[in-house]
C-alpha cells in the first residue's frame, strides 16, 4: 500500500478512536444536563432522547426554591472558601520556613508531613468524629472547615516549599540589603513570586472542600447544614426517582468546578503528582 494512503487511513483511524473516546467521556454529562431540562414524563419515556422534546426550567426553579439546593450551595461555598483561605495562609507560612530556614527538627518534621500523604483518609474519620463531637462542632461550618484545612496542609506545604525553593536567594539578599524586614521579604517578595504555587493549592483546596463527601456525611446531620456533595446523595437516597430534579441540582453543583477548571487550566495539568483530585 503506498505510503501516503496508509498514512491517511492511519490518521483517520486515530481520530476516530479519539473521537469515540471523547464522546464516551462527555456523554454522561450531556445526559445529565439533558435530564435536568426534562419534565418527569419525558425523563421516563421511551425512546429516551438526548435533546429534550419539551425543555423546561422547572427543575432548576424547584431546586433553588423548594428543595434546599440553594442552601447546600451556600454551605459548600462557605466551607470551600474559608478552607481555601486558611490553607493558603497556613501553608504559605509553613512552606516558607521549610524552604528557607534551617532548624533542628526541619527534616523529621517535613518527612512527617510527607508520610501522611500516603495515609488514606478513612483512618482518621472515626477519631475526628469523636473529637468534633467533643468540641461541640458537629453540624457546624467549623466542624468541616478545620479538618479540611488540616488534611490539605501536607500537600500544600509540600508544593509551596517547592515553589519557594525555586526563588533565587539573591533576590532575597538584595532585598535585605535594601533594608527590607523579614516579614516584608515574605510578604512583598516571596509570596508574589510563588503565585503559581499559591494558585495551585488554592484551586485544589477549593475543589476539595466543594467535593468532599465522606467527612461531610459524617459531621453534618441536619439538612440545612449539608454540603452539596452530601445533600445530593441523600436527596437521591430519599427520592429515588426524582432524577430530573437531582440532575438540575448536579448541574448547579458542577458549575463552579468547571469555571475554576476553565479559568485555571494551566495550574491543573502541571500538578499531576498531587493525588488530591483523585478519589
Amino acid at each position: 500500500m503506498p505510503l501516503k494512503i496508509s498514512r491517511c487511513l492511519e490518521r483517520f483511524f486515530i481520530y476516530f478512536i479519539l473521537l469515540v473516546g471523547a464522546w464516551i467521556m462527555i456523554f454522561p454529562f450531556l445526559w445529565m444536563v439533558s435530564t435536568s431540562f426534562k419534565n418527569q414524563y419525558e425523563a421516563f419515556s421511551f425512546p429516551p432522547s438526548l435533546i429534550p422534546q419539551k425543555p423546561t426550567l422547572e427543575n432548576y426553579v424547584q431546586a433553588l426554591t423548594i428543595v434546599p439546593f440553594g442552601r447546600w450551595f451556600l454551605n459548600s461555598f462557605i466551607v470551600a472558601s474559608v478552607t481555601t483561605l486558611l490553607v493558603v495562609v497556613i501553608s504559605s507560612l509553613a512552606g516558607y520556613i521549610f524552604a528557607r530556614k534551617d532548624f533542628r527538627w526541619k527534616e523529621p518534621l517535613f518527612y512527617m508531613f510527607l508520610m501522611t500523604l500516603m495515609i488514606p483518609g478513612m483512618v482518621t474519620i472515626i477519631p475526628n468524629f469523636i473529637l468534633i463531637r467533643a468540641l461541640g462542632l458537629m453540624d457546624t461550618y467549623l466542624g468541616l472547615i478545620f479538618p479540611y484545612t488540616s488534611w490539605n496542609l501536607a500537600m500544600s506545604i509540600y508544593i509551596l516549599r517547592g515553589f519557594f525553593s525555586a526563588i533565587p536567594r539573591s533576590i532575597e539578599d538584595s532585598a535585605r540589603i535594601d533594608g527590607c524586614s523579614e516579614l516584608g521579604i515574605f510578604l512583598k517578595i516571596m509570596l508574589p513570586l510563588a503565585k503559581p504555587g499559591i494558585a495551585t493549592i488554592a484551586i485544589f483546596s477549593f475543589l476539595y472542600g466543594w467535593d468532599e463527601f465522606t467527612w461531610a456525611l459524617t459531621a453534618t446531620s441536619s439538612s440545612h447544614m449539608r454540603t452539596l456533595a452530601v445533600g445530593l446523595a441523600l436527596f437521591h437516597g430519599k427520592y429515588l426517582t426524582l432524577w430530573t430534579l437531582l440532575s438540575a441540582g448536579m448541574v448547579i453543583a458542577t458549575v463552579p468546578p468547571i469555571i475554576v477548571f476553565i479559568l485555571f487550566q494551566k495550574y491543573f495539568i502541571p500538578n499531576l503528582m498531587a493525588g488530591a483530585v483523585k478519589g
Partner: protein, 289 residues
C-alpha cells in the same frame, strides 16, 4: 540565636497545631480505639487484638477483602492501559490536542458524588440509557440490572472508576511522552525499527518511572475507594460490592462499633503502606537515565 527562632516557630505554629489535632493525633487515636470494644453509646472495654482476630472470622469482612483486591487488580491496570493508549494516540501530530485533553479530563475534575449519581441513572435497569442502547443494538436481550444483580454489580462499579480515571492517566502519560526527544524516534525509524519495536524499546522503557508512580498512586486510591461505591450500591446487593471501606464505615456509623471499625481501618492502612512501599521498591529499579 533566640531572635531567629521565634519567627520560625510562629510561622509553623498554625500548621503544626491543625496538623497535630486533626491529622496526627487521630491517626494514633484510631489505633488506640482499635484495641477496645468501643460502642458510641455504652461501654468501652479493652480487648487487645480481639477486633483484629474477629475480622478474619467475619464472613462479610472476608468478602470485602476479596472485593477490594478484585477492584484494585482490575481497575488499576485497565486505567493505565487505556490512559496510555489514548496518550499515545494523542501524541501523534493531532489537531485539537488541547480540546481532546480537556474533554478527557472533565470526568477527572468532576466530583465522585456527581459522577456516581450520573452513572446510577445511566445504569437504571428500566429507564437507564445503557440498557436502552444495548437492547436497541441487540447486544443483550433482557435488561441487565447493573447495580442490583450481584453477579454484575462489582463490574458496573469498576467501570465507573475506570471511566473517571482514564483522563487523569492520559494527561500524566502525555506529559511523560513529551519528554522523550523526537530524535530518538527518528533514529529508531532510520535504524529500521517497526512501530511495535519503537514502542517496546524506546517509549515503554523511558516511561517506566512515570508508569511506576502512577501505579502506586492508583493502587492506593483503589484500595481506599469509598464514595462511588457508597453512592452507587452502598456495598450491596448482598455484599457483592462491599469493600473494606464501606464495611468499615457501616460498622462505625450504622452498627456503631467504633473499635471494630478502627481495627479494619488500621488493617487497611497497613496493607496500603506495605503495598506502596513494595511497589516503589520493585518498580524503581534502574529508573535513572
Amino acid at each position: 540565636m533566640a531572635r531567629s527562632v521565634s519567627p520560625i516557630i510562629l510561622f509553623l505554629l498554625p500548621a503544626l497545631i491543625f496538623y497535630f489535632v486533626f491529622e496526627l493525633f487521630p491517626i494514633f487515636y484510631s489505633l488506640y480505639i482499635s484495641f477496645f470494644e468501643w460502642h458510641i453509646i455504652g461501654d468501652v472495654r479493652f480487648v487487645g487484638l480481639e477486633n483484629y482476630l474477629k475480622m478474619f472470622s467475619d464472613p462479610v469482612f472476608i468478602i470485602a477483602l476479596k472485593n477490594t483486591f478484585i477492584y484494585t487488580i482490575v481497575t488499576v491496570p485497565t486505567q493505565i492501559f487505556l490512559g496510555l493508549a489514548i496518550a499515545l494516540l494523542l501524541n501523534q501530530r493531532i489537531k485539537g490536542k488541547v480540546i481532546f485533553r480537556a474533554l478527557y479530563y472533565i470526568p477527572v475534575i468532576t466530583s465522585w458524588t456527581v459522577v456516581s449519581l450520573i452513572w446510577k441513572w445511566i445504569y437504571d435497569p428500566v429507564y437507564g440509557f445503557l440498557n436502552y442502547v444495548l437492547l436497541s443494538l441487540g447486544v443483550i436481550e433482557e435488561p441487565i440490572r447493573w447495580l442490583q444483580d450481584p453477579s454484575v454489580a462489582l463490574y458496573a462499579v469498576m467501570l465507573v472508576t475506570i471511566w473517571k480515571g482514564i483522563g487523569w492517566n492520559m494527561v500524566i502519560f502525555l506529559a511523560g511522552l513529551q519528554t522523550i526527544p523526537q530524535s530518538l524516534y527518528d533514529a529508531a525509524l532510520i535504524d529500521g525499527a517497526s512501530r511495535w519495536r519503537r514502542f517496546r524499546y524506546i517509549t515503554l522503557p523511558l516511561l517506566r518511572p512515570v508508569i511506576a508512580t502512577v501505579t502506586v498512586l492508583l493502587t492506593i486510591g483503589a484500595l481506599n475507594a469509598f464514595v462511588q461505591i457508597y453512592i452507587l450500591t452502598a456495598g450491596g446487593p448482598l455484599h457483592s460490592t462491599e469493600v473494606i471501606n464501606t464495611y468499615l464505615y457501616k460498622s462505625a456509623f450504622s452498627y456503631l462499633n467504633f473499635g471494630y471499625a478502627s481495627s479494619m481501618a488500621w488493617f487497611l492502612l497497613t496493607i496500603t503502606l506495605t503495598i506502596s512501599i513494595i511497589q516503589r521498591g520493585v518498580l524503581s529499579k534502574k529508573i535513572e537515565y
